[in-house]
Amino acid sequence: MDHELILDVRDVSYRYPGAGAGADALAGVSLAARAGAVHAVLGPNGSGKTTLLRVALGVLAPATGGSRILGRPAAAWSRRELARVVGVVTQREENLFPQRVRETVLLGRYARLSLWGAERPEDRAAVTRALERCDVLSLADRWIWTLSGGEYQRVRLARALAQEPRLLVLDEPTASLDVRHEMELFQLVRALADRDGLAVVLITHHVNLAARFADRVLLLSGGQPAGEGPPGDVLSRETVERVFAWPVSIAPFEGRPQVIPLRKDHT
């Protein structure tokens, strides 16, 4: 499998305007996402995960370091060009309008449509493929407000796939999903990397699922990298306890470390 470097974030720092000195949202973070690999970004709340996403995709300009996508600096990409290469499923989406599933996935074709031109057969075909890939083709004509949380997430993923991207970025995609839908999503994401050769960056605070499904993890703590590499290397007991400020025990499962939080009884 070709392991082309799709996203190359080198040593970026960023501070939000108005934040005091020493309150860097990111400091010296690097991330390299390759085709066919799943890269998880982990860390407690406020550790800079979403900020990293924004800097990586050129939405925010870093104070130091830089981000390249397919070799070009992120700032050099227009939004439209970038949307043909990177598909993002954001943490939140507020859809104002009642829509059917097929319509909302079709929005993903925007970057490939000409200004005045209508949707072409190849656009509809891409939408159908994306729906199939995410196993929501049977829901194609449903109104999105009738979908369950898990179904809606897969529809949003289908929309990102309709962009026919090389890189898929998901920001906390399983935040409010139950076990079954979480597993379905992680399995789907893994299959997309393995079967279709997509590079995947997955921001999550579900440490254990990330450990099982990701090839590499980046652990952030207060905007700084606390470890980067295969899950087994990064998720040691000392590191996890330090970053999450809680006593844990690490137990292996299917060859991957699983974090078990311990009880802190005050006697």
Binding site: R80, A83, G87, T90, N95
Partner: protein, 313 residues
Amino acid sequence: MKWLGLGLVVVAAFLGAVVLGPVHVPLAGLAASDIVRTLRLPRALLAFLVGGSLALSGAGLQALIRNPLADPFLLGLSGGAGLGAVAAIALHLASPWALPLAAFAGALGATALVYRLGLVGGGELDPRVLILAGVAVGAFAAAVTTAIVSLSDAAELRNTFLWLWGGLSGASWDSVLVLAVYLPLPLAVLFAAARPLDLLALGEEPARHLGADVESLKRRVFVAASLLAAVCVAVSGVIGFVGLVVPHAMRTLWGHRHRPLLPAAFLGGGALLALSDTVARVAVAPRELPVGIVTALVGVPVFALLLRRWTTS
């Protein structure tokens, strides 16, 4: 089918505006009639262009501000126009174009101020701040206007409010020509923004990642919608409800996708205003009602009906 129906409504409204009036013109004599050629025809065209522009502006602003209650005159525009008009009258400016130009300048001035206030850190337009700024600027302009009126020669300025209530009585081929030259650019900008506006409905961040240049989009839509509303006020005073109600009415038939919605809103708004103007001219003939009253009388029940549909669906 829907488009055919809309087309028929447009044609019927246009024909009504030309054939009907306080003065009876026999069908045979329509083409030769001075009244039809010099008065009714340009007035019907003006009604279309103004009604369509207001509806389009309203649809664009509703998408931009992400608020279904947005109206072209929400953002301080009508207050600014009123202030400009009152100033022109108080200064006894002589030219026949003085009043429209002053209203236009006032509208743009208010819009520029609202825009400036709506820019938050980083040069980005925040729609929520836009609404608040618009209400504030509009209220301020209205207060200054009232102050000028109360301190000045009462009779003429009372008549200003009649003008502000909205009327197409000043329609001429000159004003149609001005609109024909002015409108294409802002109209084109809004029509071209149709797809990105669909993306914006998901939220600014998702829209950005799907390929929309969100900052440029917000600026373009705000400026184009304001330019449309400003020229409409200059030409025909403040005509309410068209910009608010027509986009919603069209959404019940065409859905929320802006590519069909925007043209439908333009045509629907034009037809509604042409129809309302015909009613304004004919209902109490030989007297004329201000068209703003007719659009409100028609618009409010339609709006109430739409609200019922929403709350029951």
